[in-house]
Symmetry: C2
Subunit: 388 residues, 2 copies
């Protein structure tokens, strides 16, 4: 008899991405190359200067031992400056904690604000790993729904009504995953005020922050870090994976008050002592250096957004319900079929890999997530024959 | 008013290593270079071939995206073969899960076997991160004490008596951290039988496995993986940090039955999707290639062990209570002072950095942990003047 496994883990959904990747492997190539709009991975190459620094740092003797739990001084310094510039704020290095990617940033932040029996509010459609992370930790979730009728923005009165004494935080994602929706500054202010009033935390996953805006200039994502009391209620989560094209190196960051950073360092010491050190130095060296390159990528991604909009307009029955910084949330034309079946069919029979809405919570059967930033405008144009 | 932090985190001890590192920074150098016997970090350089592969892999385009959650096929294959050789067993790649270091392996294993309200048995003195990890996750701990009277080996009848229905696993460390003690094959068999009888898990942290033995040949650490039912009760944890001198890259592995590996992959997807990919390939390339180099290091570490034994024999009042694969547990001569004070004094005034026994559980005031493998035999000889 095998010893039982923790039911909270045994009952957890299987990781979604490998499921669709499996369907994609069944595609026989009959319509040409696979068009992979599933996992959010930049479809262009790393900048050679970052590649050079990654190589240089990889075997540097002084980076092979353990490093500071909170992150390398060089990266905390460079990133706090960078974040200060973006948010028009004064963020110090002691208000930054480096992590191994943004999922880990969320785990650490969630454990910081809530324990077993506490509740975190999620907004449906939610990023699936937020839901499974909380379940895995024994933290309850309560969801409020944000749908097309309100452009996928949460309704404040619904949120307020959901804040019972067990609720310790609201978790949101902007630019949103899966919908691409960008939460306006006013909404972010209201969310923060709501959290202040109820003395709970606002956790904001800003993985797709660098893809905001329509051109070279990156607009300010929100004004919360200009609030004098931001440290008491706000925890910001970020990933270097997307903007720097290095998911394989696992690197993210948390922006929070020093007290939260201290709590997170206790968690991180247990989770993995410190994030891998060499990529931290490579990113610190290139954070400002590659600002122009990132701006060019923003322009390229706008081009892709326009290409997707143009091609889906020519696909009978397909409807873009929202499109934003990195993702589009798309209504498929198969009214009687679940998005899981549709995604499987598209992957296997049409060589188009997307994520089904069902991965992102209840009531999402009619939708698919398209990570349009992954592929070139030319590839997106091929959707015309693949989807019709 | 700042929003409260999860009391399980707020109440957690601060990470121990930075505390002693802080004391070490106060040392003014008056007696010569710092002798750092605190955090377990190999005191010799990485092998140049591994360095070369780390550099090569760091910017490889095919490793910059996300990888398989369970680990790179190359490393799971190479490590399952390597582990099969070491344990005289047949371990398949599907029975390996790669992690970002052994702390993360423990987090994932602990969550797999226990949830909030469940209990895991620890053996005092325990590795401190095991204790803090379980607390952080809301998992209860129960300890049984292993002391010098039994050469720091746990007593089976005490363990058996502690197994109540809430106990889901026993966690042990062999070669032991902090004592260096090597659990004999017979004891490991008995521990496994005990777990089988009570249908609970045996989690074995074998971070220091490669430093077993007195010479070039690495003896078999235990015979559990030859048991036909090992997959039902055993979870093995390992770190590449020590033997390969790459703590800064964060790489570890779990050996477990496929069902446990599936559960762990759900947890890892939330924790950080996958371990950093480039170092996985570098280690896969050099795992067999550097077997001879690792054997030489074992011989070198034996030399260091002998040097420590020789020098402490000449230090008035200091007593090695146990010495093993990587660590020695040492009784300090200051009967009326806590090991925390003694460690602080040694670091600051004598430039000798050790970890106080108090970090490893109750009743450890009289002891310090010496990570003797960190420093050369010549440096160890300097302890004669520093400790007297």
């Amino acid at each position: 008899m095998s010893t039982p496994i923790n039911p909270a883990i045994a009952g957890l959904n299987a990781p979604p991405i490998p499921i669709v990747q499996k369907s994609a492997r069944d595609y026989d190539g009959r319509l040409g190359d696979l068009i992979d709009l599933s996992q959010a991975v930049p479809g262009y190459a790393i900048h050679p200067k970052l590649g050079h620094h990654l190589e240089q740092a990889a075997s540097r003797a002084d980076l092979l031992g353990y490093g500071p739990i909170e992150g390398e001084t060089a990266l905390r310094g460079a990133y706090s400056q960078h974040a200060s510039d973006i948010y028009g704020a004064s963020i110090t290095p002691s208000e930054i904690h480096i992590t191994a990617g943004c999922n880990q940033a969320f785990v650490a932040a969630a454990l910081t604000v809530a324990g077993p029996g506490d509740t975190v509010l999620l907004i449906t459609p939610y990023y699936f790993n937020h839901d499974t992370t909380l379940s895995m930790l024994g933290i309850q979730t309560k969801t409020i729904s944000a749908g097309p009728e309100n452009r996928y923005l949460p309704d404040l009165s619904q949120l307020a009504a959901a804040i019972t004494p067990d609720v310790k935080a609201i978790a949101c994602v902007t630019p949103n995953n899966p919908t691409g929706t960008i939460y306006p500054t006013g909404l972010m202010n209201s969310l923060f005020d709501l959290c202040t009033r109820h003395n709970i935390w606002l956790m904001v996953d800003e993985t797709y922050r660098d893809f905001l805006g329509d051109g070279e200039d990156q607009p300010q994502p929100h004004a919360l870090l200009q609030r004098p009391n931001w440290r008491d209620h706000f925890i910001g989560l970020y990933s270097f994976s997307k903007s720097f094209c290095i998911p394989g190196h696992r690197l993210g960051a948390i922006t929070a008050g020093a007290e939260v950073v201290t709590a997170i360092s206790k968690i991180m010491d247990n989770l993995q002592i410190c994030a891998a050190r060499p990529p931290q130095h490579a990113v610190a060296e290139t954070l400002e250096l590659l600002a122009g390159w990132r701006a060019e990528n923003r322009v390229e991604i706008r081009r892709r957004r326009e290409a997707l909009m143009a091609v889906l307009a020519e696909c009978e029955g397909w409807e873009i319900v929202t499109i934003g910084a990195y993702f589009s949330y798309v209504r498929h034309p198969f009214k009687d079929r679940s998005s899981t079946d549709v995604a499987q069919f598209l992957a296997k029979e049409r060589g188009v890999v997307t994520l089904p809405g069902t991965f992102f919570g209840e009531g999402q059967e009619a939708f698919l997530r398209f990570a349009f930033a992954n592929v070139s405008a030319e590839q997106l144009n091929l959707l015309k024959t693949r989807l019709n």
